[in-house]
């Protein structure tokens, strides 16, 4: 086996001119195991895609899961090696590029390379992506069992995991772009997996087109950056554009368009690319619809991987973003607005997966603005960005914890849907008796996302709020309110599913779905409970130097109490079948009501939550989202159709009329270029 690898290595070296840089002191095993991480899922994709339907139909899931298990073990091993053994040199986590080969050289210095970049965030992402993907693989063994296209499903999962890992490891911004597009394609395949459902087909098309639209921004950003920096390599890019007084930085600062420098434009355009994938307002329209895919897929794509690609991109380009105050503000405000907006909408949704979708959008908004408030260097007059990255660490930390508990939430929801065969909250209730494990794990996840100590979300959200607090009071207050809303809508969901009214369970009772479905839930629940204790600041920081995260317990009082308030409101409203408003309306006896002291407080409470929060804020926000933002997307489509109908007369089938247009074109061009546009 080793001989084979050696020979392959030789061949690749000699004939394809792949340079394998031996900068790591561990020897070549390390380098190749890095390559194996993405290649194993890809192998799974090829294997299942080519032979799955005919030969290995039944064992397809096992094969894919086994391959991914190896990948996961490798990436956790690499994370261990990186963080604890070799990554830190002179007290700083280094960036390594152990593998890189030039795929195409555009011009001197500007080349598309394929390589592997190892630094704290990519190592962390490797571990988290493979881990969540593994959980989803295991879970799907039971969830998708008996599906007609079982091997195809696993093939798509493999392709998706491969492209996501390629994106994470990219050492070159163009490589990232290519994998970025691949992620889009494979998510398109996964969302449209139930291709017989018209809504799924429409959803995948929409997801694809909206994200492509955003990718356009990314591409333009790349083009502008490479034009000014003269390179596409991440490390070189960051080096050239962050050194004070460098020629490239000067050119990027001084060439302006519409009052902003090229650097700001590039950063904003790249952010738009990220916003498309990460479902930031107003490019989020695809996310709720994308819930048409199989539920484990939602756990993979919409919790841990694809939707955080935008955050990852901004984090990867963070030094460049931090050179532009305008771009940082843009990121901050889009992030905070999306967080609040999505939280409001989440309060009104009745489809369990849609609530989770908006919640994802809201949480990613948190990560985004955390990056945004990480401080702009220009304010200090110095170009050194170290020491300002509290928000950066917080965002990465939240990305990490969110991946775990959101995957848990989705998988739990999958378990519920599996049991009840419906997505609608009205069909659920009282399920805690039937689904004990799901109930507990879901509760843990809800506590984690609400920020209740000592669960994971508490720590990461705390850091974000702290960063916001240090930055600007407005941001902090909005974030605080959003965090309360988060607790409210998550527990609304929780109580409506597991408490509230009892549910009539139709047909035979088939339990919770067996070991394969429960194992991921339990593992993730353990993660959601304890991941917060990882001292993240020691590992992932903007500059690679460990950062002491100071923990102020006084500071936690406000967020925790607001979270608890949200939880208790939800509990009070939804724990039992909600007869309060009905009862009030029914009891006509005014005196009886007056004597009932609690009544006024009740009324007030209801007024605030139901009337104001729901009808005045949440509903309009949802309406706006559904009709205006979404409508814009559809409108573009309809308008194009309409215009194309209107101009069909040009194609009249009359050859002489064609000739008249021909001559008119000639004369028009001649007149334009002789007299007007010289």
């Amino acid at each position: 086996m080793i001989e084979v690898i050696r020979i392959t290595y030789y061949i690749m070296n000699e004939f394809l001119q792949i340079r394998l840089l031996q900068v790591l002191p561990i020897g070549w095993n390390f380098g190749w195991s890095l390559l194996l991480i993405p290649l194993l899922p890809f192998a799974g994709f090829l294997l299942l895609g080519l032979f799955g339907r005919k030969y290995i139909k039944n064992s397809a899931g096992i094969i894919a899961t086994a391959l991914l298990l190896v990948s996961t073990v490798l990436s956790i091993y690499i994370a261990y090696v990186y963080f604890f053994e070799y990554g830190k040199v002179m007290g700083m986590y280094q960036k390594f590029v152990p593998i890189q080969f030039t795929w195409l050289e555009f011009s001197q210095g500007v080349s598309i390379d394929f390589g592997v970049l190892i630094d704290p965030i990519s190592v962390m992402m490797l571990a988290i992506v493979t881990f969540i993907s593994l959980m989803v693989h295991i879970y799907s063994l039971a969830y998708m069992k008996g599906d007609e296209r079982f091997p195809t499903y696993y093939a798509f999962l493999g392709l998706f995991t491969f492209s996501m890992l390629g994106l994470v490891m990219a050492s070159n911004i163009f490589q990232m772009y290519i994998f970025w597009e691949l992620v889009g394609v494979s998510s398109f395949l996964l969302i449209g997996y139930y291709y017989n459902k018209p809504s799924a087909v429409a959803a995948c098309k929409k997801a694809f087109i909206v994200t492509r639209f955003a990718d356009l921004g990314f591409l333009l950003g790349i083009l502008i950056l490479s034009f000014h920096a003269g390179t596409l390599d991440f490390n070189t890019l960051v080096q050239r554009l962050t050194v004070d007084g460098s020629e490239e930085l000067h050119s990027a600062y001084t060439s302006t368009f519409l009052g902003a420098s090229a650097l700001t434009w590039a950063a904003i355009l790249i952010f738009i690319g990220g916003a498309g994938k990460s479902a930031m307002f107003p490019l989020h329209v695809w996310l709720p619809d994308a819930m048409e895919g199989p539920t484990p897929v939602s756990a993979l794509i919409h919790a841990a991987t694809m939707v955080v690609a935008g955050v990852y991109l901004v984090a990867r380009m963070f030094p460049i973003f931090s050179m532009s105050e305008g771009a940082m503000h843009f990121v901050t405000y889009v992030g905070i607005f999306s967080a609040l907006f999505a939280a409001l909408i989440a309060c009104t949704q009745t489809d369990i997966k849609r609530v989770l979708a908006y919640s994802t959008m809201s949480q990613i908004g948190f990560m985004m603005f955390a990056l945004g408030v990480s401080g702009s260097n220009l304010k200090n007059g110095s170009l050194n960005y170290s020491g300002l990255g509290a928000g950066y660490t917080a965002a990465m930390f939240h990305l990490f914890t969110h991946a775990i508990f959101k995957a848990l939430l989705f998988l739990g929801a999958g378990s519920v849907i599996h049991f009840i065969h419906s997505n609608e909250l009205k069909d659920m209730g009282g399920l805690r008796k039937y689904l004990p494990i799901t109930n507990i794990t879901f509760l843990i996840a809800c506590l984690a996302i609400s920020g209740v100590p000592p669960f994971a979300g508490f720590f990461s959200k705390e850091e974000i709020l702290l960063a916001a607090y240090q930055h600007k009071a407005l941001i902090y207050w909005i974030a605080l309110i959003t965090s309360g809303l988060t607790a409210f809508y998550m527990f609304r969901l929780y109580f409506l599913i597991f408490w509230n009214k009892g549910t009539i369970v139709h047909g035979e009772h088939h339990g919770e779905g067996g070991f394969a479905m429960m194992l991921p839930l339990v593992l993730l629940a353990v993660g959601a409970a304890f991941a917060g204790f990882i001292p993240f600041g020691n590992f992932v920081t903007a500059d690679g130097k460990p950062m002491e995260v100071v923990f102020h317990w006084q500071f936690s009082i406000a967020p925790v109490s607001i979270a608890l308030a949200g939880i208790f409101t939800a509990m009070w409203l939804y724990r039992k079948q909600n007869n309060k408003p009905v009862a009030i309306a029914n009891s006509l006896n005014v005196f009886y009501k007056a004597g009932y002291n609690k009544f006024y407080i009740d009324e007030l409470y209801l007024f605030i939550t139901k009337k104001i929060l729901f009808n005045l804020v949440g509903r309009p926000a949802a309406w706006f989202d559904k009709n205006v933002v979404d409508g814009m997307v559809n409108l573009t489509g309809n308008t194009t159709q309409l215009i194309s109908e209107k101009i069909k007369e040009f194609q009249s089938g009359k050859v002489q009329q064609y000739a008249i247009y021909f001559l008119a074109g000639v004369i028009g061009l001649a007149v334009v270029f002789i007299y007007i546009w010289k």
Binding site: Q656, I660, L663, A664, V666, I667, A670, V671, I674
Partner: protein, 172 residues
């Protein structure tokens, strides 16, 4: 006014007037004959410019060849004495406008441009000069275009034969 000038204006008038008639008359035979006159007028202009060889080619190919081909095809497709269908007035106006705009633009540009003149020794367009050039492979020779045109004519003939020799006419 010299005789040469008078001849020029007569030829010009012949060419343009019969050109206009060729594209406007509603009797197709007359149109063909006016086209013939117009082409002869052009041949006359070539003679007038002392490009005898081109004039001869013009008469042989156009007058003797293409016009006859056109007249034959009229025989094949047209009943005698039938008037051509009228064109819509809107189309006529647009076409006239487009053609006139094009003409005006071209003439304005042509008149504003002063063409260079050369003092070099002119080459007379005698048949021997033309023949030498036509078959020369050196610089300023035209052997290659000559071959290309011959291939083109061959291909065109084959195409014509395939299309025209359709085995049986279908749908009436």
């Amino acid at each position: 006014m010299s005789g040469s000038t008078i001849i020029f204006y007569m030829l010009a008038a012949l060419t343009l007037v019969s050109g206009i008639l060729a594209v406007t008359t509603r009797q197709i035979f007359r149109a063909a004959i006016f086209l013939l006159f117009s082409l002869i007028g052009i041949a006359g202009l070539y003679f007038w410019m002392q490009y005898d060889f081109v004039a001869a080619v013009q008469i042989v190919v156009y007058v003797g060849g293409i016009t006859v081909l056109i007249i034959f095809s009229i025989f094949l497709t047209q009943q005698a004495g039938e008037l051509l269908p009228k064109q819509k007035i809107g189309r006529l106006l647009y076409s006239a406008l487009a053609a006139f705009c094009g003409f005006a633009l071209t003439m304005v540009q042509l008149c504003q441009h002063t063409f260079k003149t050369t003092t070099e020794q002119p080459i007379l367009p005698t048949v021997s000069n033309i023949g030498d050039r036509m078959l020369s492979v050196e610089e300023n020779g035209f052997a290659l275009p000559f071959e290309v045109v011959s291939i083109l004519l061959l291909a065109a003939m084959i195409g014509c034969i395939v299309i025209a020799l359709r085995s049986k006419p279908t749908t009436a």
